[in-house]
Amino acid sequence: MKKQSVIVKGWASFVLCAILMSGCVTEKEAAPNAGADNGSAPIEAKGDSIKVGILHSLSGTMAISEVSVKDAEMLAIEEINAAGGVLGKQIEPVIEDGASDWPTFAEKAGKLLQQDKVAAVFGGWTSASRKAMLPVFEQNNGLLFYPVQYEGLESSPNIFYTGATTNQQIVPSVSWLLENRGSKMFLLGSDYVFPRTANKIIKAQLTAEGGELAGEEYTPLGHTDFSTIIAKIKEAKPDIVYNTLNGDSNVAFFKQLKDAGITSKDMTTLSVSVAEEEIRGIGADILEGHLAAWNYYQSTDTPENKAFVDKYKAKYGADRVTADPIEAGYTAVYLWKAAVEKAGSTEVAKVKEAAKGIEFAAPEGKVTIDGDNQHIYKTVRIGEVQADGQFKELWNSGEPVKPDPYLKTYDWAKGLSGE
């Protein structure tokens, strides 16, 4: 039976390799395998309804975050339909599952545009999924509303970015930390495009604004043992840990940080991927006192937000929470509606033209579509986690910040956008 054990082991190592490779592949920019055939299909509303696509991961690792965004988008569609629809027509959502797999996102985007002929698609979460969909939307001249904060340095004519770009989240939060919490900063992130790009920007900013880099560490996605990294943090003794970890690693990091005897009183941490939804999965007792930077919190005090939170909870359950990307998904549907009504058509070119300068009273406050780069003006907010799992706002930018995805208005950022 020697042979069998060799075979068994052979297969085991094959599977290990397969798993490892699939881990790698998911982080690369996947080439779209849903090719576009012949350019733009004229999208006209037919009959009494207008089709729009909803394309999020409803299964797989990203489902944890994306299902809630889908729920918010469906809520917005339902509200608009109840109020008479768009251009007198009802919106008909076509829901597809991106399955946390970037080529699938590209394929489903192609299906939505070519087969369903949707007027617009609301979808995506990870930068990898957006980058996979981008060429599909450009080739088919479709319209994508992307609801998540991201690393900037992108501006596709076929995408509206309703989440923050770097100068609406990371850059102002770094400045605030340097002014209020000390100068020695430790950068910790997951090992993929968003944290690496974000940290490149932060390092340039630290140099320009008199900060000091205490260390920089990256972990594979899904990393669950932070003992060594915490030991390194202890040795580096930073004032601040700037945390760009994504997903489940945050749970492990904060649990183990607390066990190692480091609390928010000893050291400031600021996270850019920990929102209300993640707090529920980590435990508010563990996160209490730690900071986050976003454009919206469930606790944000606007009348629009009060109504939004009430409606969201009424529809999906009192135990559900809202968070920044959820709000950005909800806002995206309304921005699209406003643009379509102004254009009087769902034709992509007309909607894009009409979208310039459109304003909307979103739950986060007033937002405006920037005509140049199709991002939106957003207010920046720094919040502190409270014992009840909600944020208390410590600082905000006072007014919506103009989006600047290539950081052209910052001298120190020259050379960053070169690629």
Partner: protein, 301 residues
């Protein structure tokens, strides 16, 4: 110096966690030769059992009893995961003995189904478990060396599970039957041992230990439908490196990977550290293809 002491402890701790997640697999894969890709999901089941147990304690038990929920959860996790493992063996695995490729694909499929079922029942977002208060904090050796109680607890737990497994396999009648069946199924059957029952029981025990691992991991890591995928690669690595079929090999494999991983991570980064460990394992397996402790008594049949 302090960093060194801390890192030796961290290395031990990482090893103990690796050993805990690999022990169940050492039974199902190591002894039974089933490439059990659903092992990670059995860990997940253990984690969710802990979550449910905690919920029940909060709802039905006096508040002062809350801290004891974790002990109950360890037992519940073992029983629930063992039951599901036993069912799995009854329905599926027993048709697949001696067919490594089929069992690989089938258990992979089962793993995905279990993930999706967890998503239906508990929802896609992670859930939180409050760890018992007696495990909060740590043992302060000096001001900068704090050994978290949770990590110490896991080291003790692994030692206990390992001892129990050793006693069961090598010191009881059932254990002897198990070894007999794993070494030579036909001969054991001829001598009157019900190999079917032994198979079911062995697989259930392996699964139950995965459940215990899941329970313990709620102390340190996330609890969600896809957590199994984070641990499965490490678990296979430990068993393959250690040498299939011997418990002591699994222990050696876990210690080796844990210590080297921590060492490399200290001087490079988490990503590079992992790459170096894998490179080392691949190189080692070139030299000794059968792992650290190469003993396959099955070669008789």
């Amino acid at each position: 110096m302090e960093m060194t002491i801390l890192q030796v402890f961290n290395g031990l701790s990482v090893s103990s966690i690796l050993l805990l997640i690999a022990l169940g697999l050492a039974v199902t894969f190591g002894l039974m030769n089933v490439i059990n890709m659903a092992h990670g999901e059995l860990i997940m089941i253990g984690a969710y059992s802990t979550y449910v147990t905690q919920g029940l304690f909060t709802a039905y038990m006096p508040k002062s009893w809350f801290d004891t929920y974790f002990i109950a959860a360890l037992l519940v996790s073992f029983v629930v995961a063992a039951l599901i493992g036993w069912l799995l063996e009854m329905i599926l695995i027993r048709h697949l003995y001696g067919r490594p490729l089929d069992s690989l694909l089938a258990t992979w499929g089962v793993g995905m189904m279990l993930q999706q079922i967890a998503r239906f029942i508990f929802g896609a977002p992670n859930v939180a478990v409050t760890s018992p208060s007696w495990l909060n904090g740590g043992l302060a050796i000096t001001s900068s060396i704090v050994l978290p109680y949770k990590r110490l607890f896991i080291i003790v737990l692994v030692a206990l599970v390992l001892t129990a497994m050793y006693l069961y396999i090598y010191r009881t009648v059932q254990g002897r039957r198990m070894r007999a069946v794993m070494q030579n199924r036909n001969m054991a059957g001829c001598l009157g041992i019900s190999t079917r029952r032994v198979d079911g029981l062995t697989f259930a025990i392996g699964s139950g230990i995965a459940g215990i691992a899941g329970c313990a991991l709620t102390l340190l890591g996330p609890i969600g439908p896809s957590i199994g995928t984070y641990y499965i690669v490490d678990a296979f690595m430990v068993v393959v490196l250690g040498g299939v079929g011997k418990l002591i090999g699994t222990v050696a494999g876990a210690l080796g990977i844990g210590m080297f991983n921590t060492l490399f991570e200290t001087y490079t980064s988490a990503s590079i550290g992992k790459v170096l460990v894998f490179a080392l394992i691949v190189a080692f397996l070139q030299w000794k293809p059968r792992g650290l402790v190469a003993l396959r008594t099955r070669s008789l049949d």
